[in-house]
Structure formats: C-alpha cells, structure tokens
C-alpha cells in the first residue's frame, strides 16, 4: 500500500481490521511485526520520519489546565516550527476556533477539543497528515468544516490518510479508498471506480422494479422494449452500488 504525494486516502474496515494499528505503525507508536513502513524514504518511527507527520489520534486528550494557544505553542516548539503567533491564530481559524486561543481545554466541548487536535496535527505544515476518526466527536457542521480543511490540504499538496467509519464522509472527500480486513488490503480504488453500475430502477404503469445488469447506454433500448410490450414508462433511474455496498461486499459481512 502506497500513498502518493498530495493524495487523500480513506482507510475503511471493520473493527479490529487493523486501521488504527496501521496508522500508529506509521507514526511509530506501534512496532511493526513484519514488513516495511517508510515515510518519504525514512523508516517509520525514526526522528526524521516524525518530522514529516501530523497526527490526530482516535483516543485523544490534552492537558486540561492549558489553553489552546499554550498547547499549540508547545507543539510548535517540539515540531521545530518557524511559525509564531500568526501560525497559531491561522490554525485556530482553520479549524473554526478563532476565539479559543485563551480558552482552557477543560472549558472546551469534546468537539472543540477534537478541532483543537486537528489544529495541533497541522502545526508545522506536515507533509503527511494521519487522521484517526477525526470527526467522531463533531456535529454535522464540524464534519463539514473538516471536509473543507481536507479539501484545502489536498490543494496544498499534503498527503492525508483518513481513517473513518463514516463511509459517506470518505466517499465525499477521498481520492482513493482502501478497505482492509484482518490486516490485509481487500480492495481499493477511487470511490467512483468502486461504485459499480448495478442495473436500473424502472417505474411503469405496472409498478416499480429493479432490472439488474442494465448499463446506462442500454436504457434507450430497454425503454423501447418496454413500450413495445405495452407498458407506459414514467421513469428509469440508473443504479450504482454505494460505497456501503462495496464495503459490505469486501468485508464479507464482517461487521464485528
């Protein structure tokens, strides 16, 4: 599995498939048992590789006593970022917390803390961003904001690995989707590639039905045939399998 520079890849899989483990291995938090992991040519876990990484953990917490500004300052210093107060202010605006600089973590809602976590991950303009369930605590507005941030990052050439259970979210923002099960990649491709045609829904005076195996270019012939057969056709809708269909097929109904 390889991520191209500037690519936004969604990682899907059932619980226990190894999504978080993969992300943590890339970060150097978990030691690999086999194989090789490298980040821009540096071994995963090495100091050099960690210079390129921004990471938002699935289970995250920040010291409750510190303010957003203090937390970002700490990470600026640890990341060796040249950014100053301007970078911190910009990051807080990016994640929708422009007024939170002097707010202590304990005064923030879980959603605000998750946004702060995203700002923390973006400190120092990382080349690779690893996001493990970055929207788990966010409301729909917050999720939309994260999608906008991801779109902006893609434009800026940042490589993103997004681990999420929210299929619709992955489908909306990712260039490529990788589905894994028990540590193995079972299928991957762009959301459009994965979402295969799967027939049409036809509404006639005889009722509504789905006809499998019919492609978009076959629809005129199908309509002609139905009309010739005495049916009145009101609507024909091409159907594509959703990412959810693909996912369920790929994991073999493993919903553990």
């Amino acid at each position: 599995m390889a991520l191209e520079p500037g690519e936004l890849v969604g990682l899907l899989g059932p619980n226990g498939a190894g999504k978080s483990t993969l992300v943590k291995t890339v970060c150097g938090l978990v030691r690999k048992t086999s194989g090789e992991v490298s980040i821009f040519g540096a071994a995963a876990g090495s100091r050099e590789s960690r210079r390129s990484i921004g990471y938002l953990a699935e289970t995250f917490r920040y010291p409750t006593w510190c303010t957003a500004d203090e937390l970002l300052t700490l990470h600026q210093r640890l990341a060796g970022s040249d950014g100053d107060a301007q970078e911190r202010a910009r990051l807080l605006v990016t994640v929708g917390l422009p007024e939170a600089a002097n707010l202590r973590v304990e005064e923030m809602s879980k959603g605000m803390q998750q946004r702060l976590g995203l700002a923390q991950a973006l400190v120092g303009s990382p080349k690779l961003l690893l996001l493990d369930e970055p929207t788990s605590a966010l409301d729909p507005v917050g999720r939309r904001l994260v999608r906008d941030v991801l779109a902006h990052l893609r434009q800026a050439g940042v490589t993103v690995l997004l681990n999420s259970h929210l299929l619709s979210e992955v489908e909306l923002v990712c260039d490529r989707v990788v589905i894994i099960r028990a540590g193995e990649v079972v299928t991957q491709g762009s959301p459009h590639e994965l979402a295969r045609p799967r027939g049409v829904r036809v509404e006639t005076d005889a009722g509504e039905r789905v006809i499998d195996g019919v492609k978009r270019e076959d629809i005129p012939d199908l309509v002609a045939k139905l009309v010739a057969g005495g049916e009145q056709v009101f609507a024909v809708t091409p159907l594509r399998s959703t990412l959810e269909d693909v996912y369920l097929e790929a994991v073999g109904g493993d919903t553990s």
Binding site: R31, F60, R61, Y62
Partner: protein
C-alpha cells in the same frame, strides 16, 4: 541549542508548568499551610512545657524536644513530598497513553526517553523546591518557638529532597507497567514498606536484634529513599553526645542512621539504573 537538547528543555519547562498548575499542587500547598500552622502551635506548646520540666541527668530537654519535633516534621515533609511526587508522575507512561495524552507528544520528533526523563526531572525540581520551602518553614518555626536549630542546616534538606526524587523515579518506572491507580497504590506501599523497614531496624538496634537490623539495611539499599531519610535525620543531631544522642537517634518515626561515604554515589547509580530500565521498557511498549 542542539536538536536533542531543545526538545528536552521545551518538555521540561512544560512539565514544570504542568506540575505547578495541576490541582494536586494547590491541594498539597493548602495541606502544607495547614500543617505548618498546626506545627507552629504544637512547637510553641511543646517548648513551653519542656522549659518547666526537669529531665534525667545527661539529657538536654530542649535539645530532645527540638530534635523530636524536627524528626516529626521531616517525616511529614517526606510524606507530603512523596504524595506530590507520586501524583505528578504516577501516570507518566501507561496512564497518559491510555488517556491519549502521551501520543501527541511522542509523535513529534521527541524520543520517548526524553519524555520520560523530562517528566522525572520536572517532578524532581518541583518536589525539591517544595521540600526546600517546607523545610525552611519548619526550621524558622523551631527557631522562633524554642530557639532550637538542627546541627546541620542544608544537608538534611538536600537529602530529603533527594529521597523524594528517588521516589519520583520509582513512580515513573512503575508508570511503565501499571495504570495510574495501581501505580499510586504501589508507590505508597513502597514508601510505607521502606519507612516500616527503617522503624524495624531501629527496634532491632534498640533490642540488639541483628536480623532485624540486617533486614532493614538490605531494604535501605533496595529503596535508598529510606537511607537518605535516615541520613538526613542523623545530620540534624550530628553533634549530640551521650544519653541525649541515644534518645534522639531513636526518633519519633524511625531514627537517624549516618550515611556512609558510598550512599550518594550509590543513589546516583541507582537513579541511572532506574532510568535505563524505565527507558528500555518504554521503548518496547506499543502506545
């Protein structure tokens, strides 16, 4: 500043700030103020009564009262300092990893060993400062209430601070394997075990039981905060002689035992060994 030292300095400063701004520090500070006030009242009453009593020949009553009150205070300082050290370090590795506090730090270009070292350093600095402040307050109280001062001033305070730093190191080591709650319990059991062994050693000394003395000696090497505590106590009455010395050496909560020349080098080596084991265990741990 080099790439290695800079993150250590940044993390150490952060850890010190965290130590001072956590609620536990405020609670310990409040308890300490209460302790010092009650201690001053107690010292005042004790010295007033001693001045009206006549003790057995060869016993300096004021000296005995001063050394005993000071011994009590040193036990309290060790205990309060240990409480502070334990609460500042008990979740350093496993507890913080389970809470998700550790991962954002170690993903930065900072080594796990550096995180561990800075957490211990910060706890040692804060706890040493705390010990110094309370010890000074006790000395001022003893001087003001009874005109008594220990035979050595700086040494006992420094040894007490070192004892608390050793306990903080053990707590950091425990945090690699134990959850925060389990580590807190383990740390206080270790503290209690060490002090209890010291008491038994004094009892053994009093009744001439070599086995008890030997057992206490072994515990003092295994848990050198106990040896440091005893050395600190011993320094406070280093110049006493005769029956007074015998009585004050028994002490209210474990008596003093002078440090050998190898104690401080041994403690330094002990801390290095604890650090090496903690770093090796942390490096192998999946977070």
């Amino acid at each position: 500043m080099t790439a290695t030292i800079r993150p250590v300095a940044v993390l150490a400063a952060w850890a010190v700030r965290e130590s001072l701004r956590r609620r536990v520090f405020a609670i310990v500070a409040l308890l300490t103020v209460a302790f010092v006030v009650l201690y001053a009242i107690g010292c005042s009453a004790a010295f007033r009564q001693v001045n009206t009593l006549t003790g057995p020949d060869g016993v300096d009553g004021r000296e005995f009262a001063g050394a005993t009150l000071n011994g009590l205070a040193m036990f309290a300082i060790l205990f309060l300092g240990s409480v502070l050290a334990a609460f500042l370090t008990l979740s350093t590795v496993r507890g913080d990893a389970e809470n998700g506090l550790l991962q954002p730090l170690v993903v930065r270009p900072v080594g796990r060993a550096q995180v561990l070292l800075t957490r211990w350093l910060a706890a040692a600095v804060v706890c040493s400062g705390y010990v110094a402040v309370v010890y000074t307050a006790v000395l001022i109280t003893l001087r003001a209430a009874g005109g008594w001062s220990p035979d050595r001033i700086v040494g006992p305070g420094a040894l007490l601070a070192a004892a608390v730093a050793v306990l903080a190191a053990l707590c950091v080591l425990g945090s690699v394997a134990f959850t925060a709650t389990a580590n807190g319990i383990a740390t206080f059991m270790v503290l209690g075990g060490g002090l209890f062994a010291g008491l038994l050693g004094q009892v053994g000394h009093g009744i001439g039981n070599r086995s008890l003395e030997h057992a206490a000696h072994i515990v003092s090497w295994a848990l050198p905060f106990e040896a440091l505590y005893q050395a600190a106590l011993s320094l406070t009455t280093a110049d006493q002689v005769g029956l007074t010395r015998f009585l004050v050496r028994l002490g209210p909560l474990g008596g003093g035992d002078p440090a050998g020349v190898w104690l401080l080098p041994y403690v330094a080596g002990y801390l290095v060994a604890v650090a090496v084991v903690a770093m090796a265990a942390t490096a192998r741990r999946d977070l």
